[in-house]
Symmetry: C2
Subunit: 376 residues, 2 copies
């Protein structure tokens, strides 16, 4: 049977995703063993998301490391378009970004494009978008970024800095290029057409502010690549470096092994950072797609399939950094020793331990908010 | 012979302009005697640019006066996209705007969209555009606007206020609407497509800042109407008043009775506010298109044609407010009593008297600049 190929744009991810095909279509490079080894030279430990191919592709990562070796430190850029609550799928690239910040000791520019979802979602009001802005910032602070090295920029509030830089990008970005990259059409609004220019700004703004070129590395989920592909085409025309990037796969929704966890669908497909322990337990037990067998006897006899089991995937991609422990879970599930309910219990405990700690940090983050917002 | 119809867009005015046709095509209203009389009720004197049909068309001016009568004062909004030096054609709507400010005692929001020309002119760099920003502001201050009631907003610097409001407009503005209004195409850049949204912001920003709706009146040259036509369509969807507007014809270039004086062509077609008395004398004597006859005898015998004479038009449209004096010049020229050289001399003296005073005020304006820039 031919594999169905999903749709992946910055605004829509649907169907089963063929990541190999995305690598080819988008023109990114796979992260291979040689590159993993190279990264390992700089770090005590290669992050489990790299070891396990959760971060699987990149552009110019070798260049970033070459420059780093020469003493030319890079900075990190990632972002969040506020439009709803944060779920565990969102934090996957951010936890990795935090590791990069800690490991390499670098600055992070975190963009909050608070106009993006407003422009792309017919029914989202400006006010509703703004409600989530502060909520989302608290979750991100709670992940533990270094307040001395982390700068939040909010498109609407920092437009005094950003808009003129976005115009410099926009001058090189024709409607036909944007239509080609995103499938926009003649009914697309002027803000959607302009938006990529705003998203490109943090890829060179620190260089503008410092008056010297600083290499930029963007960790992001693969669906954002079309924005940055255009950014990379244009920045050299403005005298800036092309930003490098590193891409991760999507954390699947509870109900399916493939696809992308989303906050805009039903809240039953995602685990939110504000969910209570009971909600987490209920959602995972009720919805997490299982790779187990239909009956206990069958499962004991034939074993389960961890490769399609959503609970196992969450452990692999996010909640169990220890390879040995993960392998034991994998083997036990595959052999039938570990039952689906038991596997789910392991995940529920992991998630709830994380969320308990996170929700405490989130409360504390309220007093730190102003430290993170860039002062211009 | 059929009258050639010129092209009028915010970025290009060419050919002979058929203003009656523009009224019809753009859907504006002509200013008729009844409206002039109505305006006269509010003012000691109806401005000569109104009496002489220099300001010839409007949208919703009657509504503005009705609201004014009810005690609901309007504010004025006009602007300047910096890209070169100011010439006498530019100041025509601004002098009228000053009269409106003084006569009605109203606030003026003066926009400097410093990204517009950068986005629309392939070869204009950001830095070159910025050079003219301050220069242009000095000329505008020197015209005598009330510093207590005048607020300069500069798109790049005030984007922190403006960008989010522009996005609210942009959400309602599709590529196909913009293409229809301006003749943009698929090779148009994203900034051009977004730009109208920024130009629309001052038509409602004071209402947003004050938290109550204030009627807006926009005095402008007719070529800007397509922007405001779109603005008028959209603002009610955002809960704002439609802005009213009042339109003037173009001051012609030195060499032709028709068309629009422009700073982007040769500097020999325009009189700049920084020109020296000698330059003014030379340009008018050398270039100002004359309605005179080929020989002195012929002129004395048959008389000249003030209706096509550029010098006479500059007096009529800008430099001779006194109707009686203007009529005498008209009659004397038409009868042949006044020669072309003498007519030019009258204009040269008027222009140089104005410029001498203006250039003094322009020097003084340097210390007032910060008073005019809106503090957000």
């Amino acid at each position: 049977m031919a594999k169905e190929v999903g749709k992946v744009t910055p605004w829509e991810v649907s169907g089963a995703i063929d990541y190999d095909r995305l690598v080819k279509d988008f023109g990114v490079q796979k992260i291979d063993d040689a590159l993993l080894k190279r990264i390992g030279k700089h770090t005590k430990d290669v992050h489990f998301m790299l070891r396990r191919n959760v971060f699987f592709a990149h552009r110019d990562l070798k260049w970033i490391l070459d420059e780093y070796d020469k003493g030319n430190k890079f900075y990190l850029y990632t972002g969040r378009a506020p439009s709803g609550p944060i779920h565990i799928g969102h934090i996957q690239p951010w936890l990795f970004t935090k590791w990069l910040q800690d490991t390499f000791g670098v600055e992070l520019w975190f963009q909050f494009p608070d106009e993006e979802k407003f422009l792309f979602k017919q029914n989202l009001s400006w006010e509703d978008g703004q409600k989530y802005l502060e909520e989302n910032m608290l979750d991100i602070i709670a992940l533990g970024f270094d307040p001395k090295k982390t700068h939040f920029i909010i498109d609407s509030r920092h437009a005094g800095l950003m808009y003129q830089e976005a115009c410099k990008v926009a001058k090189h970005l024709t409607f036909s290029m944007i239509r080609g990259a995103f499938g926009l059409n003649e009914q697309s609004n002027a803000g959607m057409i302009f938006y990529t220019s705003m998203q490109s700004v943090p890829a060179f703004l620190p260089s503008v502010l410092k008056g010297k070129e600083i290499p930029c590395l963007i960790p992001h989920a693969i669906d954002q690549d079309p924005h940055f592909r255009l950014t990379r085409d244009i920045l050299p025309k403005l005298g800036h470096y092309k930003p490098a990037s590193i891409q991760c796969v999507f954390l699947p929704p509870l109900q399916r092994t493939e696809g992308k966890m989303s906050a805009s669908g039903t809240s039953e497909q995602a685990i939110f950072l504000t969910d209570t322990p009971k909600e987490v337990e209920r959602k995972i037990n009720k919805y997490a797609f299982s790779g187990g067998r239909n009956t206990l006897e069958e499962h004991r006899k034939l074993g389960g399939n961890p490769d399609v089991d959503v609970s196992f995937q969450y452990l692999r991609m996010l909640f169990e950094p220890d390879d040995k422990k993960l392998k034991k879970i994998y083997d036990d599930y595959k052999s039938g020793k570990l039952l689906s309910g038991e596997l789910k219990k392991i995940l529920i405990e992991k998630v709830n331990t994380f969320l308990k700690e996170h929700q405490k940090k989130r409360e504390k983050a309220k007093k730190d908010l102003s430290k993170f917002i860039y002062k211009n």
